[in-house]
Amino acid sequence: MSRYRNVTILVAILFVQVLGLAVQVKRRSGADESTRIIRLWTVSAVTPLEKALVWCQNGLGSIWNNYVYLRGVRQENRELKFEIERLRLEQVRLSDDAQQARRLQALLSFKETYIAKTVAAQVIGSSGSEQSRSVYIDKGTSAGVDKDMAVITADGLVGRVLRAYGSSAQVLLINDQSSGVGVILDKSRLQGVIKGTASGEVVLEKVMTDEQVTPGERIVTSGGDLIFPKGVTVGTVMKVTPGADLFLNIRVKPSANLSRLEEVLVITKKEDRAPAVAETNSVRAVDILTQRLPSVPDKPPAAVSQPPAPVTPAPTPKVLIALPKPRSEAGVNNSAASSAAATAMKPATGHKPAAADKPASEQPAKLAAGKPAGRVASKPVVAAPGSSAVPSKPGPSQPGTAEDIPH
């Protein structure tokens, strides 16, 4: 018997492991709970080392980049300033379109899912296996990260949280073969499912062969899977070939660089709400340009400190959503755009940006406190001849905005 002792032990251990596998495969949904302890132990043993190493690496990198390696920074700064100027003007132009779209959405009682809160996290480790495309981040349940939360970068979608531990979480990447993301093609509006392959590529499935898909077309999330918010960039179509069955073989290039992830954002809160149509002060590209021209100085402080006159809404039309306005008259709603525009106006007016920059949902508190919504507009804006002064228009929650539109 002792002759076969080692072989018996081998068979016994293999049998136990096969049995364990069978149980996990049978109860796919409950497998996570049954193996949680061993995963927790391993992750607890490995992630502190990874965190420490990433921390040291970032510290050294930061010292090198911020204090030593500053070659070409002046030139880059100059170029970035030019870029900001150009983007600022473009933003004002694009915000007209956004405003118009929001008005139409409000008219249709359209509700969107907004990204309400995100948590920034550092990627500290991987699964260590080519067959499991997942990474570990340094934020867990203590930071509000939970299972099935979407993970993105500035470039695009990364994946979703698969397991959340106390101070770390495992993120399943979109190029893993067990992942699946509901997507929509940006131009053709065709819907499909993004999946990973065994070799780590990303493919778009469930698009019929008779549909027209062109390489280079952008792919965004559809929001249909209730995990990923709608409209997040996933990637672009790289190659389209007819498949063996009724569907096309579409290879996708992910927007986010999944093999070189460093920092990600976890979407910890989403909100369903109707688009806020905040009618703010009209700011045009020409206004921004004219504000930079030499102008008459501000009034003395005494004049400014006078109590603001009660805001009486101008006799504006009750419903603003009538027809698309001409570009030169449309208001600015995009908060980023209006804040950029307000910043551009700051030196000439000497006032802080108006509270109307914020979405309608954040406005009532300030209005209730008696502060006029259009503070910038309450003071006459001194502008160069030929420019259009910022007109006084009611705040977002005042009569005449989209909130009062009977649906």
Partner: protein, 172 residues
């Protein structure tokens, strides 16, 4: 007395101190999880497997080899999102096989270590793919080029790594 095909009259059996036995596998796991993020080519390496082979060959005990392989494999599994046991089974088989071979052959020189690692890397991959496809129904692609490349790289690494790990050996 078992027949041994070695260059010496008696094969030497080694043991390891408790800190070395615990820390070496943990460091291997840590490097395996950490380095592929910075050095993408590192995903070709399988450091935990190399550690299993090293411990199994040095200890020359089948039970010790299969238990070491089983534990390291299960830890490796727990870092992935797949069911626990796939790496466990593959490393158990490798641990048992390597310790059996270590008891019969002298695998102390670089050339023998290279060949042993090459062989057991192939065994590991075959068992892993069989279990993953047959039991867990994972869709895996077998690429000869990738597997041969992986085997050669890991075998070359083992030749260097085992020399470093020899410092932790203690005569039993």
């Amino acid at each position: 007395m078992p027949i041994t095909y070695t260059s010496q009259e008696q094969v030497e059996v080694y043991r390891f101190s408790a800190p070395a036995a615990i820390l070496i596998p943990l460091v291997a796991l840590f490097l395996q999880a950490f380095l592929p993020l910075r050095l993408h080519f590192f995903s070709l390496f399988d450091l935990p497997l190399l550690v299993v082979i090293f411990f199994a060959v040095a200890r020359r005990s089948q039970v010790s080899g299969l238990v070491t392989g089983s534990l390291i494999g299960l830890l490796q599994d727990s870092l992935t999102h797949q069911p626990i046991g796939i790496y466990g089974i593959a490393n158990t088989v490798v641990g048992f096989g390597a310790s059996s071979l270590g008891a019969k052959l002298d695998v102390e020189n670089v050339g023998a270590r290279f060949l042993v690692t090459l062989f057991f890397y192939a065994v590991h991959e075959v068992v892993y793919f069989t279990v993953a496809r047959g039991l867990v129904k994972l869709t895996l692609q077998w690429s000869w080029g990738h597997e041969i490349g992986g085997a050669l790289i890991n075998a070359a690494t083992a030749a260097v790594l085992f020399t470093l790990l020899d410092r932790f050996k203690q005569r039993a």
